[in-house]
């Protein structure tokens, strides 16, 4: 009963704290490490970006 009062469901505070820790670690990286990570991320996301641009072009063609 008391346990029910103490826990806010769903309790994601531990997840949020972990994410905050990741953000702090990211912030502390060197400029070079950050740029390298972002360049790698950009490459990984390129197919998604291209798909989004194709969908947008198709929508624009339909409107036009």
């Amino acid at each position: 009963m008391s346990r029910k009062r103490e826990t806010i469901y769903p309790d994601i505070s531990d997840i949020l704290e972990e994410k905050a820790g990741i953000r702090r670690r990211l912030q502390k990286r060197s400029f070079q490490e950050k740029v390298e990570a972002m360049e790698a991320l950009r490459e990984r996301l390129r197919p998604l970006k291209e798909a989004r641009e194709r969908r947008k072009a198709a929508r624009d063609n339909t409107k036009g």
Binding site: L26, Q27, Q32, V35, E36, E39, R42, L45
Partner: protein, 187 residues
């Protein structure tokens, strides 16, 4: 690392007198201080070596930049930028007193380039990045200002000095419902 190749091209442009002093601005400059966010653009704040057309018209044209780059094989334009070694580079001419001050006081850092070399580049200081965000004031600029503040990535005293000269800080703090850190700095 692609960006080091891009910076090498910028340095060559400066050495050839195509541009004057330059510094990296925008999201990539912010990498030097806060948690990185994904961006496609490399914003470059540039001064010109007193271009003749400016004396006549008061306007700055980027045509010499694009001509030089085309001659080096960088002719692909995308939006407002030109693709240099995989980065879409946007050249932003220094347009006001804030830009001039930011360029004059930019930090210099070295990046690894190739197997053994380095390239040097200048990056705007955090207080000038925040002041510029305040000026541009898009949603993402407002978020970036909050990042600088919450990540304790800007020297409050230096920031307040810059904002006293160039900013609308009080309006921003009121809009974001945060305490004005400059009040605390001057208290």
């Amino acid at each position: 690392m692609a960006i080091a190749n891009t910076v090498a091209v910028l340095n060559a442009m400066q050495a050839d007198g195509v541009i004057g002093r330059y510094a990296i601005a925008g999201a990539v400059a912010a990498y030097n201080y806060i948690e990185p966010t994904l961006t496609e653009d490399l914003d470059v704040l540039v001064a010109f070596n007193d271009p003749p057309q400016r004396k006549v018209t008061g306007l700055v044209t980027l045509e010499p930049i694009f001509s030089f780059l085309a001659g080096q094989g960088y002719a692909r334009l995308e939006g407002e930028g030109v693709i240099i070694e995989g980065w879409r580079v946007q050249f932003l001419p220094a347009a006001n007193a804030l830009d001039e001050e930011a360029l004059a006081s930019a930090d210099e850092i070295a990046l690894a380039h190739g197997d053994v070399g380095t390239v040097r580049m200048r990056i705007l200081r955090p207080e000038h990045l925040v002041a510029n965000c305040l000026l541009v004031d898009r949603l993402k600029d407002q978020v970036r200002i909050m990042q600088f503040l919450t990540e304790d990535a800007v020297n409050t005293e230096a920031l307040c000095g810059v904002l006293a000269r160039h900013g609308k800080w009080g309006e921003y703090c009121a809009k974001m419902r945060i305490r004005n850190p400059c009040d605390r700095a001057h208290a």
